[in-house]
């Protein structure tokens, strides 16, 4: 069911599509060498989907990019969330790790690409590493803040009930921090997609970033737009999936409900 706001959003998209048609096909105000017409976009999409482009069909490229993002994101969650929770819980852990974190944090994720390639070569491993680094930071910071913002009486209630340490983490601290953890995961996912394209622009042989790279060299605006739109859609779809997971996990949270 589409609400009132949903219709407004659809209206905007429809208006942009019309504007696109008017500016390219109808009037020719924007030349085909700079931006593709709807027809050219469609032809490019058809070409890459069926016959293939840049060494593979669209599905192959998309699945490969999806795999890299999923792996980098997964490693970032597995490492980042526990680290953030630990730093939030233990002042000592924070004191020990935070200085290192503060120094490393301002380094843009893309600045790791040369080092990653030097260490791991041009294959997938280097790209996963860079995606991991970029997605790592928001997960750590938000998990950390999530723990620091837990109501003290909640922890005290758990201790009064004799909750052993492991259960305190899994049944009290992690759930209490989970709204913030999910905020971190969202930001991490965004960071993962942003970094993916940049990582694939450098030394990839398959993937959406590679399509973009080839299309640029081929001076092929239609295919460039296809690559951009596909990345956008993939990013949107994965964010939507994450939102579903969040809704399920945080069903108890009044603030998360509409």
């Amino acid at each position: 069911m589409l609400g009132r706001r949903g219709w407004i959003g659809l209206g905007t998209i429809a208006a942009l599509l019309v504007l696109w048609f008017v500016l390219t096909t109808a009037t020719g105000w924007v030349s085909a060498a700079r931006f593709p017409s709807p027809a050219e976009f469609w032809a490019s999409l058809w070409q890459v989907s069926v016959r293939g482009y840049a060494g593979g069909q669209l599905l192959t490229h998309a699945l490969h990019s999806l795999k890299l993002v999923a792996m980098g994101f997964a490693v970032a969650i597995i490492t980042g969330v526990p680290l953030g929770l630990w730093m939030g819980w233990s002042r000592k852990a924070e004191a020990a790790i935070n200085p290192v974190f503060l120094i490393i944090r301002p380094i843009p994720p893309l600045a790791w690409i040369p080092l990653a390639i030097l260490w791991l070569g041009l294959g997938d491993a280097a790209k996963i590493m860079v995606i991991w680094f970029s997605a790592f930071v928001p997960s750590v910071i938000n998990s950390f803040a999530g723990v620091r913002n837990i109501d003290r009486p909640l922890i005290e209630a758990a201790r009064m009930l004799g909750t052993p340490h492991g259960r305190l983490v899994t049944e009290v601290i992690a759930p209490a921090a989970s709204p913030m953890i999910f905020t971190g995961l969202r930001l991490s996912l965004q960071a993962a997609w942003t970094t993916l394209v940049a990582a694939e622009l450098v030394g990839a042989l398959v993937g959406i970033g590679f399509i973009l790279n080839m299309a640029q060299q081929d001076l092929y605006p239609g295919m460039i737009l296809v690559g951009m739109v596909v990345v956008g859609l993939l990013g949107w779809a994965t964010t939507w999936l994450l939102g579903l997971a969040e809704k399920r996990a945080l069903a108890w949270n009044v603030a998360a409900r509409d």
């Binding site: 009486p153 005290e156 209630a157 009064m160 004799g162 259960r167």
Partner: protein, 265 residues
């Protein structure tokens, strides 16, 4: 069943940074199955007393002991009911009540029986699978009390448990607590700033003063309650109308007020 003892207890917050003496030489003994209320103005250190008995704070001097053992850390032998309920919002009513029993490693069947009993005791049947946010404040506090009772603790520590409730709900909960105390008497330390609540609920009322933060006097309500047969009245307003009740209430009010005047002078 347990007892609580405050023995020459001082509490100084921030002793390294100047220090604020919040409690000065607190002496109080709460016997087995005795219900003691502490009344006093806001900020006089009532919560701090309770937190020391719970094991959340350590005294700066003196000794707090429960059933003869010095308090060192929080534990399920000293169940706390918090003013803001402190229920786990991601757990259902049943899971909230059950957590302490799981921590005690009780077998599943026994846990289910105990939880069912606690739900019945607090009139929560039918809400077992609800989440806290789906319940009213009064219902949430029932869950918190059930969670404390089900532990079968040595002592119950209640910090203004009805302070966050609206007036009507508070009255219902006060009557409920009196009923509980009759069915299942416990050793209770009850904090409040409402004089009437203290007189209605407690066996003894300790009046606390601010600066110096001491216990000024302790009034025994039991004899008057028994002599005047308060318990034959089911409703709190009927008890509060009794001359003996009004007299005690006024006495405590005066005690608190003298304190305030003394502060101004």
């Amino acid at each position: 069943m347990g007892s609580i003892r405050f023995d020459k207890v001082d509490k100084v917050f921030g002793p390294n940074t100047g220090g604020v003496k919040v409690l000065d030489n607190i002496n109080l003994e709460i016997g087995e199955r005795e219900f003691v209320a502490i009344v006093g103005p806001s900020g006089c250190g009532k919560t701090t007393c309770l937190r020391m008995a719970a094991g959340f704070e350590a005294p700066s001097a003196g000794l707090v002991s429960v059933s003869g053992r010095p308090v060192t850390a929080p534990g399920p032998d000293r169940a706390v009911v918090f003013q803001q309920f402190a229920l786990f919002p991601w757990k259902t009513v049943r899971q909230n009540i059950e957590l302490g029993l799981r921590n005690k490693k009780l077998p599943t069947g026994e846990r289910a029986d105990l939880v069912a009993g606690a739900l019945k005791l607090m009139n929560l049947e039918g809400h077992a699978e609800a989440f806290p946010h789906q319940l009213s404040g009064g219902m949430q506090q029932r869950v918190a009390i059930a969670r404390a009772y089900v532990l079968d603790p040595e002592v119950l520590l209640m910090d203004e448990p009805f302070g966050a409730l609206d007036a009507q709900t508070r009255v219902v909960m006060q009557e409920e607590l009196v009923r509980l105390a009759r069915v299942n008497p416990r050793t209770v330390l009850f904090i409040t700033h409402a004089v009437e609540e203290a007189v209605y609920l407690a066996d003894r009322v300790a009046v606390m003063t601010r600066r110096p933060c001491r216990i000024k006097e302790v009034l025994d309500i039991r004899k008057i309650r028994q002599a005047e047969n308060w318990d034959k009245h089911a409703r709190i307003e009927d008890v509060m109308d009794l001359e003996s009740f009004v007299h005690l209430r006024t006495q405590i009010w005066k005690s608190l007020r003298e304190e305030k005047v003394a502060n101004v002078v």
